[in-house]
Amino acid sequence: MLAPLSRIISPKYCYQITGYLIPWLSIICAALMLYGVVGGLYFAPADYQQGDGFRIIYVHVPAAFLSLMIYTVIFVSSSIYLIWRVKLADIVAQRSAALGATYTIIALFSGSLWGKPMWGTWWIWDARLTSELILLFLYVGYMGLRSAILDTNRAAYAAAILAVVGMIDIPIIHFSVEWWATLHQGATLAKLAKPSIAEEMLYPLLAMIAAFTFFYITLLCIRVRLEILKREFKTQWVCTLCT
């Protein structure tokens, strides 16, 4: 029963599978991004209170959503690495961090640009904003810790511990608008309730969330392939690829 599983998590098999997936993922990402950007910038009507400034939502919300999702992926991968010592899980965690940090920066910057006209301030030490900033520090700390330790296995182990401990920040970010009296608004898209946003504004938003997700998955596949080549470059199958 474990034999098929050990085949799936082998670097060579993963390299082959991601090679098939990348072109399709890229096409889907490009199509969704085009629809989301055009729909969000041109076809969605202006908000009656915020005017055209609300269109920052089409980058801010997807970036914030992905910043949390990617850290969750890093947490799950790190846990798998710590428990079962699966090399591929460590590669996924390592290669997700840079894009996760990028999305967090985008969320903070776009939120700041949105906050100035809406709240009259670029920044406030609000529960959600502060916890999102801490998430950025976690990402940077994770990448810094990995590069600071020269031995790959020790670096992976230390970074995995940090990723697991830092996971406490994710529910704090998500529930901060419910637990504390914050300036940041509550959830626009709830899991069980009807969305509190008009449909013409909602569909481009969902498309942008999907586009950012597919962008992450595509880049992750490419980066995982490169990391596999880096770690396995002395093996026969890698040398065969290039001859």
Binding site: D52, G53, L113, I222, V238, C242
Partner: protein, 55 residues
Amino acid sequence: MSAYAIYVWPCYFLVFVLLAAHVVSVILERRKIFKIIFRVASSLKPKSEGYTPSK
């Protein structure tokens, strides 16, 4: 100046610059890694038949 010019366009510009930077970094890293692999693969290639080492 409208909200579009001051807030919305700089936001979208930053997003696409950052995402494009990731794509460029991946392309550059791919080139670097394949250079190393080609070097290793060619050093492991067996010598061709008929080769006689000089005495």
